[in-house]
Every structure is written in C-alpha cells, then in structure tokens.
C-alpha cells in the first residue's frame, strides 16, 4: 500500500503511514489529486535526525483521508508546478523546517518567524520580502497595513494597479503569529484548550471541536449522543452569528445601511444564544474533550428555540432587503469572481468554494459526531462573485436554524461529559470540522509517551487567502473591502 487510509477522527499507529521515496511520494500525491482528492494538510515533521514530509489527502467521494510520507533532505522537487494547491503548504514547510521545495514559483515566508531547526539566522522582520511587481510607466503600487482602518486584525496587502484596475494583489501575513501550534507540542496540557479556543476566536467552537475529536480519537473515548448533538448545535450557532454578521458587513461596504445596522445587532442575538448555552458569547468553555461543559435543560432549550425563531425572522427581513435593492445587487453581482476551476485548482474551502459551485462541505463529505446522523444539505451557488458568497451564507443561515430546531426537538438523553482516556503512544489522528469559514483540519501525532509529538492546525483561511487575491484580479481597487469582506478570512487562524 502506498497510502494509509483513515476516516475522519479515526486514529492509527503513526508508523503505519507508508514511507515512500520522494519520487513515489510526489507521484502518489499527484495521482490522488488527479482522481479528485484535495490536500487537507501537508507538513514537515522531524523524524530522528531527518525530516519527514506528511501529506493528508481528503477524498470526498469516498469519505477517506489518505496519508503518505517521505523522508527528505534539505530539498526536494516542488509539487506546486504540477499541483497549485500545494503552494502555501510548501512555503510553510520551507519557513518552518528549511526544507526547500525546488522549482516552487513563489517561494517566500508566510508568517515571518525563525525556522524551527537549523542554525541561527538574522532577525526575521515581518513583510520583509520581495513583493511581486508589475513593471510599466503607468503602473503604480498601493500598500495597505499591517494596521488597518477598522477594528480588524493586522495584515499587509500590496496591490499592483493600472489606474483603478488591480493587476495583482499580494497578501503578506504573519503579524498575528503567536506560536500557537508550536506550544501545543508536548501536550495535552493545561493551556491546550485555551490555545485551541483562541486559534481563531470567532471559530472557538470549530477549533475546539476539531481538537476534542482528535483527542478522543487518540484515546478511543466515546462521546455520548447528547454531547454530540449539543456540539452540533453550538457549531451551527457559531455559523449563524458569523454569517449574519458577514451579510451585514457586506451591506455596510456598499453603503446600504439598513441591513448593515440590523445584521450587526442580529449577529449579537446569535452570539447571545451561545452565551445562553455556556455563559460566553464565543463558546469558551463549551466543547471539552469527552463531551461538553454545559447541558441544555428543557427550560433553556425552549428559550433557545424561541429566541432562535425571532432572530431568524429578523435576519430574514434584513437580508431579503438586499436582494430586492437594485443598487446593492449592482455592486454584488459580477464583483470579485472566482471560477470553479480556480477553486478546484487552489483547493479553496467553505462558503467561498460553495459560492463557485463546488459542493464541498466537511459536514457532508467527512461526517463526524452528530453529522453522521443528521445531514445538512450543502448550499451552493454558481456565479462565484460577491453576490454568490453572500447568498450561500443566507442559505446556510436558514439550514443551520432548521438543523438546530431538529436537534433540540430530539435531544437524546445521556451524560454530557465523560472522562477521556489519555492518548495512546505513537498514534496519529486527523479530524476535520466544517467551521463557518470552511474546513478546519487538525492532525495530532503522539510520541512514545503519548504526548503530542506534533500538532498541526490548518485553518480554512490557510487555503482561502489566495482565493481573495484571485478574486481581485482585474477588479477596481475600490472593490477590495467588499471582496475582502465576502471572504472574511482569519489572520490569526492563518498565522497561528
């Protein structure tokens, strides 16, 4: 066998991952991608004195995760020229471990930190890199960030423009790098949960769930049906709050203030439902390995349903104003188009991919927990523009509400929290969760003592930042805020 096949959340002996030659590794990855798999994770990890590359290839049609690995020296032939979706992963591998993907067309840092191994290098300064430049007398460059005009996270954007028209946008991140992933190694420990809950704070439930499912897989802990349902409810509440907020923010960026004002408030109504569940608007403390930290008693459940219904009615009125307003539609339609082919080639995920007609949703493709029993129809749109990204969110709002209603109505009885077994030694587990931005992938590996030898996090933003850059091609620079909001990616989730 050239790959180890796993299911979402299933653990295996890490030594069973086939160790291939670099040539075979490249061939296997390219063949898997050619037959419809997508790179969910691709990373380096130290293996005794050498480095090992590990690829996790997600096949949606078969609901399988195929793992393979190869031992490498200081360089190997890059996959990116044959498989563009590897591009960001290979830049990360070079930055973290100093393993050079030769022939990579775009090799530069993604987070600007010192490498994890090798001799000392000089000071690493964020944004200090050669930006792609378009030459020509009438071409000019616009630089934005890292500190932005609004209340948002930092990042640097470099536009190559001809007049108003953007030829190319380069996105340079790393300002939010806090060492989250590195600090998880050696765990699980006291700070593991606070760190995964703040990998991307607006995705607290999503990342905590991916972590919990990985840990439960490693220790073979069985979580009660009740806890699984409650986790699903919390995950969908998180989606509701963020989607409602995003639709409002899109309205704001085209100057349509009614929907902006209403949705800004309704987003808070959804966050307050999460607070009803666990006391914190972002779901801190709710998902715990072994289950959930808080139960949903009948009185609380009926209050949840009642407030959910009111919020749905409010958001319905607010969002439908958009589709009925021609000045809004004129700005949404045809802006920031990303083709289906681009989505497939770059491996985009989440609402951004679904808005380009790609039926990709980890809840359907790699179901875990409650999603093995309750299915949420995948919402897609075809046009790939800002309108499609807004409309997919609206479809998902309606479907998430329906899902929560069903779950609350048929909540199984049982324990909310069971004690987790410690992770077994030398094991690997991949967990995928469809967060509101898209697929969250955690890959946990343990050492011979059952501690995390490495903990790999792939936030959906890791896949999707390049999608935003592609959406801006040929657009007016004044449409950047609108396009940016239509993706609404995480800086800290990317920077880790």
């Amino acid at each position: 066998m050239s790959v180890l096949v796993l299911r979402n959340g299933e653990a295996a002996d890490v030594r069973k991952i086939p160790s291939l030659s670099v040539t075979d590794f490249r061939r296997v990855v390219l063949e898997e991608v050619a037959r419809g798999s997508r790179i969910a994770a691709f990373f380096g990890r130290p293996d005794h004195e050498r480095m090992r590359l590990v690829a996790v290839l997600a096949n949606a049609a078969e609901a399988t995760l195929s793992l393979c690995s190869a031992e490498v020296g200081d360089a190997y032939p890059s996959l990116t020229p044959d498989c563009p979706q590897a591009h960001w992963f290979e830049r990360e591998i070079q930055e973290q471990w100093g393993v050079r993907p030769e022939g990579h067309p775009w090799l530069k840092p993604i987070r600007f930190h010192r490498p994890y191994r090798g001799g000392s290098v000089g000071e690493v300064l964020p944004g200090a890199t050669d930006f792609f430049r378009v030459e020509g007398e009438e071409v000019h460059e616009v630089a934005v960030g890292p500190v932005h005009a609004g209340i948002i996270e930092p990042g640097h954007f470099r536009f190559q423009c001809h007049g108003e028209k953007v030829f190319h946008l380069e996105i340079s991140l790393g300002y939010q790098h806090r060492g989250a992933e590195r600090a998880l190694a050696g765990g699980p420990g006291k700070r593991s949960i606070p760190i995964v809950e703040t990998v991307a704070g607006d995705t607290t439930i999503g990342h905590a769930l991916a972590y919990a499912e990985a840990l439960e897989g490693l220790g073979r802990t069985r979580v009660s049906a009740r806890a699984q349902a409650l986790r699903g409810i919390a995950l969908e509440l998180e989606r509701l709050a963020n989607h409602a907020g995003d639709v409002g923010a899109l309205a704001n960026d085209v100057g349509y203030l009614p929907t902006a004002a209403y949705c800004g408030r309704i987003r808070g109504d959804f966050l307050n439902l999460t607070a009803l569940l666990c006391g914190n608007r972002f779901g801190r403390g709710f998902v715990r390995p072994g289950g959930v930290g808080f139960d949903l008693e009948p009185a609380r459940a009926s209050q949840l349903l009642e407030r959910l219904q009111r919020a749905l009615e409010d958001v319905r009125v607010a969002v439908n104003l958009l589709w009925d307003t021609s000045s809004v539609m004129a700005r949404f339609e045809g802006t920031g188009e990303v083709s289906r082919q681009t989505c497939e080639e770059l491996g985009l995920v989440g609402p951004a991919a679904r808005a380009s007609g790609v039926e990709r949703d980890a809840r359907q493709d790699f179901p875990a927990g409650i999603f093995r029993f309750a299915h949420i129809p995948v919402s897609t749109c075809d046009s790939g523009d800002v309108y499609a990204r807004a409309y997919v969110r609206w479809l998902e709002i309606q479907r998430s509400v329906a899902f929560i209603r069903d779950q609350v109505a048929s909540l199984p009885s049982g324990e909310t929290l069971v004690k987790t077994a410690p992770p077994g030694p030398d094991r690997i587990c991949v967990s995928l969760v469809e967060g509101w931005r898209g697929e969250i992938c955690h890959v946990a590996t343990t050492d011979e003592a059952g501690r995390f030898a490495a903990y790999k996090i792939v936030d959906p933003s890791f896949h999707n930042w390049i999608g935003l850059a592609m959406a801006l091609r040929g657009q007016q620079i004044s449409d950047f805020p609108l396009c940016n909001k239509s993706f609404n990616l995480s800086y800290c989730g990317h920077d880790l």
Partner: protein, 256 residues
C-alpha cells in the same frame, strides 16, 4: 421603499439605556470571581494548580489576577469546597494593574481621568484600535459597541481610521513580536496627551500566550497603559463600563 419602511418598523428600537440600567446577563455568564477563602481546606492548592495561566496564588488567602484570568471554570470545577466561583458582576475594568487582583475585599474599579484629561476627552474620545495578536474575539466585542445595541457614539466615543486623528489606542492581543514595531509606530503617531486601553487577558498579561517567545506578554511591555479591561474576551458591557468610568460618565461611587 415600502419594504425598507416595514423592515425599519419591524426591527424597532434596540439601543440599551445603559448605564442608566444594566441589561440582564445570561445566567451562566462568568463575571467578577468571588473568593471565600474561609471555606478553603488548609494546604489545598487545587485551584492554583489547574489554572492554565497561573492567575491564582494561594498562600495567606487566595488571590486571583483578573489580568491573567480566562474565566474558564477550571478553578471552580476543581475546588472541593466551592470557595471560588464566578459572579454576575460585569464591572471588571481598572486603572492600575494591581487593582486587578481579586482578594475578597471590595473591588477598586476604574477611576476617572484627571480633570484636565476629562476636559479634553470627556465628551469626545477618538480611539484607534490596534490588534496585535488578538484572536478576533476581543476585536469583535469591541466592534459590537458600534452597533445600534450599544451605540457608542452617544457617549462621544468613536473609532477612527488614523492614529493622527486619535486621542488614544485600544489594544487587543498579547503584542506579537511581529506587531511590536507597528504598535510602537502607531503609538508615536498619536498626538500627546494620549491614553492607552488594553482589552482582554492577552493585552494585559499575554493570556494563553504568556511567555511565548513569539509574543510580549501584553501592551504594557512596550507602552504605558491607562485602562485595563479583563476578560477572554470581555463582555461588551465590561468594555463600555470601563470606558465610561474612565471618562467620568459613571460616578466612581455608582456600583450599578
């Protein structure tokens, strides 16, 4: 147009009348911790041992540093006697770092700025927000103050797009090494006199990222801080309460 008018009527008036009254918090909301050291078992250190950020010190009573606290319930779950629990009080902000220590005594809340500063900022405070490693939860609940629910503008407080238009900074995140220079430059670009507000456990102490080589244990590591707003993230009302107390818009004696 009719649809817009109907929608407007339907959405109604949503602004709270805070600070005249305080909206009810959810029953599971974790506000100011309450310590009853009298209940402690001699030699027990359970709460301190499970705390992910070392916020609790046991010895001569129990002290909890709100600047480090993530409000995560590990301590309350671990305590065998119920000597530590989270109350419903949303008022947590303080003007001095040492005032964030919860001991069981009456809390010292944020003080109003001096008379001259209040004359300058009391009715118009323009802030520049800098996220320096924040996870977007603090940012989101600062942003929410601009919605119709809290309507920050009615207090004369506004977030502006340039440090040169600002009277001060509101900082979130542990201050990553990669943001240190940008934060310094932003601070220097704000005209003097200026104020600095640190929001969230990360910006006060580094939070879960304390002592990481990639981050700097909060804003006060590089610039002076005038107001600390604890939480992970703080509730929007906690942030608003801190801002209004600093501006003297809630009297210090008012414990609502």
């Amino acid at each position: 147009m009719w649809n817009e008018l109907l929608a407007r009527i339907r959405q109604g008036h949503r602004t709270t009348d805070f600070p005249r009254s305080v909206p009810a918090m959810p029953d599971r909301f974790r506000g100011r911790p309450i310590i009853e050291a009298g209940k402690c078992v001699e030699g027990c250190r359970e709460c301190a041992e499970v705390c992910p950020t070392g916020a609790i010190v046991v010895g001569g009573g129990v002290k909890l540093d709100l600047g480090r606290c993530l409000f995560c319930t590990e301590c309350t779950n671990a305590c065998p006697r119920g000597a530590i629990r989270f109350g419903q009080d949303h008022r947590l902000a303080a003007s001095a770092r040492e005032d964030l220590m919860v001991t069981g005594e009456a809390p010292t809340l944020a003080k109003a700025l001096d008379e001259e500063a209040r004359r300058l900022f009391g009715r118009s405070l323009k802030l520049r927000q800098v996220s320096a490693g924040g996870c977007n939860a603090c940012e989101a609940d600062v942003n929410v103050l601009n919605t119709v629910v809290f309507d920050l503008g009615r207090f004369g407080i506004q977030f502006v797009a340039s440090p040169r238009h600002a009277d001060g900074l509101l900082i979130t995140g542990p201050v990553t090494a990669n943001m240190k220079l940008a934060l310094q430059k932003t601070y220097e670009a704000v005209p003097t006199p200026k104020i600095v507000i640190a929001v969230g456990a990360c910006a006060i102490s580094g939070g879960p990222y304390a002592d990481h080589p990639e981050a700097l244990n909060g804003a006060s590591s590089s610039i002076p801080v005038d107001l600390y707003v604890p939480g992970c993230p703080p509730h929007p009302l906690t942030i608003l309460d801190g801002l209004l107390r600093m501006l003297g818009q809630i009297p210090t004696s008012d414990l609502r």
